[in-house]
């Protein structure tokens, strides 16, 4: 189904105060974990717009990890609470889209839990491996071939829509 040395690719949205700092601590402590994660820094997990998660999945990620402070620890009092509320609904909707539950994960990791960053990432990579690639970027291309000169890729990344040069007579 996919080439043998395929590695799951995870996009992570880490909050600046807790999880990003914990990832730094994991670095300072030289902990070792799988290189499958690409971390995007946001000021708070509350800033993670569900559109980012969908865009990451549509853009070719096999999994998305959101990291925030433990409830009650948020630097902005309750940003992570909104994240939790959105995440509960997003999980249900992603299921309806047919996306496996393990692909999008929310974890509370405080600034001192460097090791938890390591264990969560390693665990998520292993959980995604059996699921195989989501690879929606290639999937949209292939589905696009059905329509004669179908629009390139998905509307998600927005370039398609703006730069349509109108084939004007």
């Amino acid at each position: 189904m996919h080439d043998a040395n395929w590695e799951p690719r995870i996009v992570a949205f880490f909050c600046n105060w807790c999880t990003y700092t914990a990832a730094d601590l994991a670095g300072v402590s030289r902990l070792k974990y799988a290189p499958n994660v690409r971390i995007v820094r946001l000021m708070c997990s509350g800033r993670v717009d569900p559109q980012f998660i969908l865009a990451a999945l549509a853009g070719g990620a096999d999994g998305v990890l959101i990291g925030g402070c433990h409830i009650g620890d948020c630097h902005y009092v309750e940003g992570n609470l909104k994240t939790l509320r959105r995440f509960q609904m997003l999980k249900r909707m992603l299921a309806e889209f047919g996306i496996e539950d393990q692909r999008v994960r929310l974890e509370w990791i405080s600034a001192s839990e460097g090791d938890k960053v390591r264990s969560v990432i390693n665990e998520m990579v292993e959980q995604l491996r059996p699921l195989g690639a989501l690879a929606l970027r290639e999937q949209f291309k292939e589905w696009g071939r059905e329509v004669a000169d179908g629009q390139p890729v998905s509307v998600a990344l927005g370039e398609a829509k703006q730069e349509t040069e109108v084939a004007h007579v």
Partner: protein, 666 residues
């Protein structure tokens, strides 16, 4: 509304740092630099040994001039460490400091991955994301937030006192809030201090009276911080002032009311003397207490409990009328710019190790109890006596009680070795008893400490290397009758020994305060896994926290001795003064803003902001954001259903491009 980004305008300079071997050892920097040259808008792409060094920053400045660059991307360590450094370099090159994006390929890549190829691929992906993102950056200006000149110091131990005095002597107005009726903290209970053996009271009381005398310090004892609002430079703190039932201005500490109290002698355990002596419901914590004011214990005073007392104390205070049973708890609100938290530590409860018999055998005491016994102002007037009044012939000190133990506290409490040796010397001096110290590793690192250890040895104090297994009162041989027997393996002698002694002193370790979780939430700080307050950086920023304007000093940050606590208190005061004297703090311009013509006034964002920065404009019926109150969390930006709220430095386009960047690379 999108900035038109035809490639002509954007000229990006990309720099990847080897950081000596830290990055270069794992990530193939030259390959990354080469890969990035192919990206749209990239004009310069270099790798360099130390980007954060002066020549490294020089490189950026020159390139900006020579190649007319208008965007800079640096791939090196964590932005939390050097983003500031590189923004300054960009600004020095003549560019707006926010036309810059940093890529973390050290802490998040080279240091945590072993597979060089994959680490390099990851570095390229992260770099690519930054290059795509920086195209959307716009010029921004840091906003300045005024700093209120007053400072709040929480905790009246030696650290709090020193910080408050340092600030007050610099002319700053300080609120010193202390939970107990008097300042002085643990140090006030000590007799002598190591390694100089100078008397704790002699060096502490002058500082305490300096606090009382200093008009810049508003001393609020018997008070606690209840609530903290606002942000750096503009904190509004609510302080709960517990009722003393004695008017502080009027009371001169003559203690006649204590004499006159209906309770003829002490009946309740005296907290200051850790329960070794009794006190009346009306009492003064200790002779040199500051403020030198009496306090009435509401749970114990007949008048306050049942209202039926002859109130002999009021009569005794006839002329000054200082006693006032109608006092109520007050909530006072103060405005401060900086907060120094110096809430100190708690001692390990020796009862948690039943093998040592604390609480079972009366002659097993803790180090702080012995401290009170040996102090001349203590309950026994400095006489080291056992519970039955006899002077002990032999005393044993057990070190590392509760510390360096996976089952209780893993850490070393740093001061118990020296503290115990000091007490051992005092015991030898006062009673001539033979003293044995059971230790694992003597830790005497400070100045004069090793010499102090030698002095202890020369004083004839026995040192047995071995963790005490058990303290029992069952005797195997006649000379063990009636004594406490310590069983321990003397690891140097290689035998298990049974040593009968009269008195045993447990050197209990330090622990975070019981309410450290609640206190840290008050000040929006985080805790390490053990419960000590977490400093911004263990080496480079030990007294500041992740919350600007909140500093920590003393043992609340971790076990330390008095000299280190004083040093940290001074450092915290200095850093607070730096903010005050500059008068403003530059706020990261990552606040949210509403695009007025886009907003439909749907009010979905209003309830989201914990800082009430979003309000509905009465006339336009549209949402507006007060940039001064906005902390830049971005929750409302993600929530605005019509995409009408945006966030500087974290625009949707910037983040979408970052997502695309990390994914498009293989």
């Amino acid at each position: 509304m999108k900035t038109n980004l035809t490639n002509g305008d954007i000229r990006i300079g990309f720099y990847i740092c080897h950081c000596g071997h830290n990055i270069g050892g794992v990530v193939d920097c030259t390959a990354v630099a080469h890969e990035i040259t192919g990206l749209p808008g990239v004009v310069v792409s270099r790798d360099y040994k130390y980007m954060c060094s002066d020549p490294g920053q020089e490189l950026i400045r020159n390139d900006i001039r020579e190649h007319a660059l208008n965007r800079i991307v640096v791939a090196s360590c964590s932005p939390l460490l050097h983003e500031h450094t590189f923004r300054n370099a960009v600004e020095a090159g003549g560019l707006n400091r926010y036309f810059f994006q940093m890529v973390n390929i050290r802490e998040h890549d080279s240091w945590v991955h072993t597979d060089h190829a994959k680490a390099t691929t990851k570095a390229v992906a992260l770099a690519r994301a930054a290059v795509l993102r920086v195209r959307f950056h716009r010029a921004l200006e840091t906003t300045r937030v005024a700093i209120h000149p007053d400072v709040l110091v929480v905790g009246g131990g030696i650290s709090g006192i020193h910080a408050a005095l340092t600030l007050a002597n610099a002319g700053k107005k300080v609120y010193l809030v202390e939970r107990d009726p008097s300042i002085g903290g643990h140090m006030a209970k000590f007799d002598k201090t190591f390694p100089t053996l100078d008397c704790a009271a002699c060096i502490l009381t002058p500082k305490m009276s300096a606090v009382r005398a200093n008009k810049n310090i508003k001393l609020w004892t018997y008070s606690e911080v209840a609530k903290v609002d606002g942000y750096v430079g503009n904190y509004t703190v609510t302080v709960r002032r517990k009722p003393r039932y004695v008017n502080e201005e009027l009371c001169i500490g003559c203690q006649e009311c204590i004499e006159a109290c209906v309770f003829k002698e002490g009946k309740y355990p005296d907290e200051f003397n850790v329960g070794l002596s009794k006190r009346k419901p009306i009492y003064i914590p200790f002779p040199q207490a500051v403020p030198q004011v009496v306090v009435i214990d509401p749970e114990r005073c007949l008048q306050l409990k049942s209202g039926r007392c002859k109130k002999t104390c009021v009569e005794a205070c006839a002329d000054r009328q200082a006693i006032d049973f109608t006092q109520k708890e007050e909530m006072a609100e103060i405005k401060v710019g900086n907060i120094i938290v110096a809430t100190g530590f708690k001692l390990f409860d020796a009862k948690r190790i039943p093998q040592y018999g604390y609480g079972l055998y009366p002659n097993v005491v803790t180090s702080i109890e012995l401290e009170r016994l040996v102090t001349s102002s203590g309950p026994t007037g400095g006489e080291i006596i056992m519970r039955d009044g006899r002077t002990p012939q032999s005393v044993a000190f057990v070190l590392c009680v509760g510390s360096r133990d996976f089952r209780t506290n893993r850490w070393c409490s740093r001061t118990c070795c020296m503290h115990s040796m000091k007490l051992a010397q005092l015991v030898r001096e006062h009673t001539g008893a033979d003293v044995t110290v059971f230790y694992l590793d003597i830790r005497a690192p400070g100045k004069g400490c090793e010499e102090f250890y030698d002095k202890s040895l020369k004083d004839g104090i026995q040192f047995v290397r071995g963790r005490v297994a058990e303290v029992t009162d069952w005797a195997l041989t006649p000379e063990e009758e009636g004594k406490l027997v310590i069983r321990a393996e003397d690891t140097l002698a290689g035998v298990v020994r049974r040593i009968p002694v009269d008195m045993i002193v447990l050197a209990v370790g330090m622990e975070p305060q019981a309410d450290s979780q609640a206190v840290r939430r008050l000040f929006n700080m985080s805790c390490g896994s053990e419960g000590w307050f977490l400093e911004k950086h263990p080496k480079l920023a030990p007294v500041s926290t992740f919350t600007d304007g909140v500093f920590i000093a003393g043992c609340c940050q971790g076990p330390k001795d008095i000299p280190d606590s004083i040093a940290q208190a001074g450092a915290a005061a200095a850093e607070a003064m730096a903010l005050i004297d500059r008068g403003y703090i530059e706020q990261e311009p990552n606040t949210a803003y509403v695009v007025e013509e886009d907003c439909s006034g749907c009010k979905s964002c209003l309830p989201l902001c914990p800082y009430t920065a979003i309000t509905l404009d009465g006339t336009t019926q549209k949402a507006t954001i007060n940039a001064a109150l906005c902390k830049g969390c971005g929750t409302c930006v993600a929530a605005c259903p019509s995409g009408s709220i945006r966030q500087h430095l974290f625009e949707d386009d910037e983040i979408f491009s970052e997502i695309e960047g990390v994914l498009t690379h293989a």
